[in-house]
Amino acid sequence: MRIRFQPLIAALAGLAATGLSIAGPEVVLVASKRSPVGQMAVAEARNLFLGLPVGVGGQALKPVRNTADGVVTEAFMQRVMFMSAEDYERQIRTRVTRSGGSRPAAYGDLTEVTTVLQRDPLAVTYMERSQAKHSPGLKIIGEP
């Protein structure tokens, strides 16, 4: 007799998704209003967060990872990085190991992320659009 586990697995997956936010969040790229970056393409953002040098006006931008919300992170990975979070970690680790440099700073608290961006005009991060709108001193620089 074949045991049917599909309904169970689907139910568990659905439950997990419900807990994490069912509707896909609208992730935007954000920088300080003082940032020299006007608009940033998805490809540029991907390069920036993969540790490749991306600069504006001779100034290198600094990627800041927002790990406060797992779903936002996952949406960022799918829409900007086009890889899974684990692959991204592996990529970053490999790149830092082979090419030097440092991993993008990661903050698990949105307030901290906001503070970092407000202080550093070259810092670029991602967050949900509604959060970006309600965070003073920040501006949306890209909509993947």
Binding site: Q6, I9, A17, L20, G24, F82, S84, E86
Partner: protein, 793 residues
């Protein structure tokens, strides 16, 4: 089956198996679930990563300048080539150009996680192109889902196999472990069933079980040792119990017998097997059963309680029971120690009877007589009655006892007591005070003269012959009678007076009765006083010997002396022999007196011998002394001690002495003759002389009694007896001594009839030793003048 399963599940292996299964059943799902979760997550992440990467890679390949149909066909190519399962292009305006191969019901709905939306598709959109359009792709999640399902199924199968193998291994090792335990169990069961002597050897590599087996073996050895010691102790205790002289029985609290030793078997006549389980009251008299138990129904604890027992034969017996309670750890029992006191009680009763009764006749003895007399007198005092008290003594009973033996005497006493009983009323008391003395209490007399009838009846009854031991015996009695209150108001006084009266009867020749009178008392008192004085006369030196010379009839020379006993009483003066000799014979003092006389006479004879005055000394042997078994030895020792020549010792015997037990007397006389002494027959002619026996006696001298000498010169027949005796002595070759010669006529007559020797006051009265010594010195000197006779003096 269920029972076996239940038994198995209760076994060590079963419990181990159950425990192992429970542990695995709990832990394995956790482990597998964790692994599966990790695997699932990994699969999903990989799928998501692949989908995103593929989308990113496919996105640049789309030429958005193409026509809508070409874009749609490109999408078809992606699906057909298996690179995607869903494809469409969304223009910046929002219009979509889907691939014709998309399912009709399929609708793009972006997923961020595997399995999101439950549509088995993962939808993802590329970044917008330069013209703002986006490529939307869908990838089937089914392959991954199936893979995950297979993983689950494989995991479950693996888990089941694991559990199965684990069960097998647990069962296997459990069996290995329990095998040693089972062997231990078998060994312990064997011990429990009594197979304690077989060593407990369990060969196992499991150290704990091996150690346990060693401990159990040591325990077994300890048990064997203790069992042996216990068996020895039990054997000893059983031996003690079985060899105990008294019956020992143990009973349970209901009184049922649990053990019954050999002494109890002997006592009751039941075997232990028969007695086991029976109630102990079975061995008691029915009326005693209730007393054995307490009101609670248990045997009553007691010590030395007397019960009436019942033997198997139905015979009753007297028992002394001591019941004690023994409390063991979880039980109680009662131990009964049983002594058969039947014999003891009978003996005590016999002793009590003996204490108050005469063993020979069964009559009350002196103690009971005194008690009854006291009671009778007390009663008589209250009721003012007259009480008569008889003291009765058989005449010449001593003669019968001595001549016919004590057994005849005893039978005679029994017969007398029976006759006396017939003469009395039931309320009268007949008692035997000892020997041939009886007392009779007549408790209620109207007049003293009423006792005469009783006394006469007794005297007449005893006159009739007794037939005892084939002999016909005649006996008489002397009775003394005293009355309360006339002759005494106390028992002692009345008894003394009745005794006095009885002696008065004796003094009058016996065979009759006398009433007590006060003069009797004076005589009796004098006699009693003499009796008590005589007992100390010897040690006080109040006895002495006088010697009367014996003179040759022809030469008138002193040839010997006769020692004559005298008592110099400090108050009464010289007491004549006929007053105290009979008293000494009655009281038995005559024996030491006779021995003293013999020794003193021999010592004096030796003294004369040493002075050169060798004369014979005649010593009178008393009848009692003659009957002494050590007479011969006594005389021999005396002669040896004093050094007196035996030929000079003349032992004077009376006729009655030698005629009694003639055969024995002949032997004694011959024995005495062997010492070399001379034997004289004193007072010859006064008694019952048998000439035939006289011939057999080794008698040397016949002494003619003074009464025959006194007759000489009194008439025609005077001196005839003396002449006959002299003639007979001559024919028997015996010497003749005439006693009591007092006149010339006596001497002339004797000389005429050729009598050998004479003694008497004609020559000399009996003299003290010193005076006689002086006489002898004068008389035996060679140049001494003719014998000076007393008559001449």
């Amino acid at each position: 089956m269920r029972r076996r399963l239940r038994v198995f599940m209760r076994s060590y292996t079963g419990r181990l198996l159950l425990g192992g299964l429970l542990i695995h059943a709990l832990l394995l799902p956790i482990l597998f679930f964790a692994l599966l979760t990790y695997e699932t997550k990994d699969h999903k992440e990989q799928f998501v990563a692949q989908v995103r990467e593929r989308t990113y890679l496919l996105w640049p390949g789309l030429d958005t300048r193409r026509s809508a149909e070409a874009i749609a066909r490109w999408g078809d190519e992606l699906i057909l080539s298996g690179q995607a399962d869903y494809a469409e292009y969304v223009l910046a305006s929002g219009d979509t150009m889907p691939s014709s191969l998309n399912g009709r019901s399929e609708r793009f709905q972006e997923d961020l996680f595997f399995g999101e939306h439950g549509d088995h598709m993962y939808y993802v959109a590329s970044p917008p192109n330069a013209d703002g359009g986006r490529l939307r792709l869908g990838f089937s999640e089914l392959a991954v889902e199936e893979e995950l399902q297979r993983n689950v199924q494989f995991s479950l199968a693996l888990m089941a196999a694991y559990l199965f193998l684990a069960s097998l291994l647990i069962a296997f090792f459990g069996d290995r472990l329990t095998d040693a335990i089972l062997r231990l169990q078998a060994a312990t069961r064997r011990i429990a069933n009594g197979g304690i002597d077989e060593p407990m050897i369990v060969d196992t590599s499991v150290s704990e079980i091996s150690s346990l087996a060693t401990d159990l073996e040591q325990m077994r050895q300890t048990l064997v040792r203790r069992e042996h010691e216990m068996a020895q102790r039990e054997a000893r205790q059983r031996a003690v119990l079985e060899t105990a002289a008294e019956g020992i029985v143990t009973v349970n609290p209901e009184g049922r017998i649990e053990s019954f030793n050999r002494a109890a078997e002997t006592l009751f006549g039941y075997t232990a097997a028969e007695a086991m389980g029976a109630s102990f009251t079975r061995f008691l008299a029915p009326e005693e059963a209730g007393r054995f138990y307490t009101p609670g129904g248990e045997p009553a604890v007691c010590s030395g309680a007397e019960f009436v027992g019942r033997r198997r034969s139905g015979q009753k017996c007297q028992l002394m029971l001591s019941v004690s309670e023994a409390v063991a750890v979880d039980s109680r029992c009662f131990t009964i120690f049983i002594q058969d006191i039947s014999e003891r009680l009978a003996y005590e009763a016999q002793l009590a009877h003996q204490a108050t009764h005469d063993t020979l006749t069964g009559l009350p003895n002196r103690a009971l007589y005194h008690d009854r007399l006291t009671q009778v007198l007390a009663h008589a005092h209250r009721e003012e009655h007259i009480v008569g008290l008889f003291f009765l003594d058989l005449d010449r009973f001593k003669y019968i006892n001595d001549s016919l033996g004590h057994h005849i005497g005893d039978e005679l006493l029994v017969a007398v007591s029976k006759r006396l009983k017939h003469c009395l009323r039931t309320e009268d008391t007949l008692a035997r005070l000892g020997g041939d003395e009886f007392t009779i209490i007549l408790p209620h007399l109207e007049r003293p003269t009423n006792s005469v009838t009783v006394a006469e009846n007794i005297v007449k009854t005893l006159e009739k012959p007794f037939h005892i031991g084939g002999k016909e015996l005649f006996i008489s009695c002397s009775i003394g009678i005293a009355f309360f209150p006339f002759d005494g108001k106390e028992a002692a006084e009345l008894s003394k007076n009745a005794d006095t009266a009885m002696y008065a009867t004796k003094n009058l020749g016996g065979h009759g009765f006398q009433f007590y009178s006060k003069p009797m008392n004076a005589t009796a008192a004098s006699r009693l006083e003499l009796d008590s004085s005589l007992r100390y006369a010897l040690e006080r030196g109040e006895l002495l010997l006088h010697y009367q010379p014996q003179v040759d009839v022809d030469s008138l020379k002193i040839v010997g002396v006769e020692a004559l006993l005298r008592w110099q009483h400090p108050e009464r003066g010289l007491v004549p022999p006929w007053e105290f000799i009979p008293l000494a014979e009655e009281t038995g003092v005559i024996i030491p007196i006779s021995e003293w006389v013999l020794e003193t006479a021999c010592r004096q004879g030796r003294a004369w011998q040493d002075e050169g005055l060798p004369i014979s000394v005649g010593v009178n042997l008393s009848a009692c002394h003659f009957k002494e078994p050590n007479l011969f030895q006594n005389i021999r020792d005396t002669l040896s001690k004093t050094g007196f020549q035996p030929r000079l010792l003349d032992l004077e015997l009376t006729e009655s002495m030698v005629m009694e037990h003639c055969d024995e007397t002949v032997a004694i006389l011959h024995q005495l003759k062997q010492l070399g002494v001379t034997l004289s027959l004193d007072d010859f002619g006064t008694g019952y002389s048998s000439l035939s026996y006289l011939k057999q006696f080794p008698i040397d001298i016949l002494k003619i009694d003074r009464s025959f000498i006194q007759d000489i010169g009194e008439g025609e027949q005077d001196g005839t007896l003396a002449t006959t005796i002299i003639a007979m002595a001559r024919s028997l070759r015996m010497q003749v001594i005439a006693e009591g010669v007092e006149t010339d006529g006596h001497l002339a007559y004797l000389r005429h009839h050729r009598c050998d020797i004479f003694q008497g006051f004609y020559f000399s009265k009996p003299l003290p030793a010193d005076e006689l010594t002086a006489l002898l010195r004068r008389h035996l000197q060679p140049e001494s003048p003719a014998l000076q006779l007393m008559g001449d003096a």
